[in-house]
Symmetry: C2
DNA sequence: CCCCTTCTTGACCAGTTGGTAAAATCGAGG
DNA sequence: CCTCGATTTTACCAACTGGTCAAGAAGGGG
């Protein structure tokens, strides 16, 4: 079991890409192995030659996802200016909601199911990363560069507001109607303003 | 087909309550008619005597849901003080996420599926209500009582941040760990501060 | 060109699931 | 207590689905 052959890596790659689409569209239960196989251009038994079960594919897709999904948070720079850093984080998260909605929905689906697969890794890796960045936020507050807020809930709020545009896309479209074209740009604008300044009117505001 | 008998209404009620639990826990595809029947304390064919199909039950549950789900937004009072009204709206939404998580998750699941059942009612009723309240927010801005922000995105942000605590509960618990007990109270505090004041530090802040 | 491993497929299976048919039972009005 | 419609159950089915198996096709090192 040294290195995977060319065919191995190619087919595994094709399967994971197809599985991401199918799982994110139909959910874990709604997705069928046949549908994933067809989307990867191979037969069902052949797919099961590469992954032993439907759940194995699902777990693999999720595992490959989480890392990339958290990159924007990792990039939050303790040395940077808080307002700029948080603004950049919001921008990056909105871009991901726009460019990788399937990933967002798959993750949301796993949460709705009670996170049976991701639970352990959430408690370990995700918690560690969030705790680390929460400390960064607390340091900013201590330095007087940020209002005293609960860091974890701040991070939740950024996740929720940005991923909303991927996960609740039908609702967003329904409400915005024809004006919804620039929704990602408008959202980024609004959210940066909201997070940095809040809703209270003030004097020198533009 | 005049009025439903006592047995009719009782059983339909039991079915809908059971269906809410099962659908919200397992999703539309994951839920089985048998599971709903068992949870309502009746046999599968008997359940199908009251609702002709699994999808009919699902649609009925969703329909009954949406109205109650939007009540907090309806209560937004154009005559009230903006800061107080928005704060009260956030409080109410956090309460609902705490007390009715199944409803929230069911709705989220329907969105993830692309809103096949709710799509039309979203475009009609939901859009109408949101547009109406967006006008209220614009009026507040014109009166100088609120910063000039995109009203629709403000409403999305409130929905997203509050419902997050129901829909992403496993993630929230995983990140907060043992400190997560007062998460709904902390969230309401944080969100009201965020929405009304933003994150920028300022002089007279408490 | 041969051989052995890797890869692919067609046929198949058992369990599950949404839904039906018809018979049995219940229950309120007469 | 009898009757007729409303309600409930037993038995059942066809479609679907995750997964297996054994046989065949392909591919690369010698």
């Amino acid at each position: 079991m040294a290195k995977p052959s060319r065919i191995q890596s190619e087919n595994r790659e094709k399967i994971l890409a197809a599985a991401l689409e199918v799982f994110s569209r139909d959910g874990f239960r709604g997705a069928t192995v046949d549908a994933i196989a067809q989307a990867s251009g191979m037969s069902k038994p052949n797919l099961l030659y590469y992954y032993r079960s439907k759940e194995a594919i699902y777990a693999e897709v999720l595992a490959g996802l989480l890392d990339a999904w958290l990159d924007p948070l990792r990039a939050l720079d303790p040395e940077g200016d808080p307002a700029r850093e948080i603004g950049a984080y919001i921008d990056r998260k909105i871009e991901m909601a726009r460019d990788y909605p399937a990933e967002s929905r798959l993750f949301a689906g796993e949460m709705l199911r009670g996170a049976p697969i991701l639970d352990t890794v959430l408690r370990r890796d995700l918690k560690a990363l969030v705790d680390e960045k929460a400390e960064v936020i607390r340091a900013w507050t201590r330095a007087g560069q940020l209002a005293p807020v609960h860091p974890h809930h701040l991070i939740f709020a950024i996740w929720a507001t940005t991923q909303h545009y991927a996960d609740f896309d039908p609702q967003v479209r329904a409400v915005l109607g024809d004006e919804g074209e620039g929704r990602f740009h408008d959202a980024a604008d609004f959210l940066k303003r909201l997070f940095l300044l809040g809703l209270c009117p003030r004097d020198g505001a533009g």
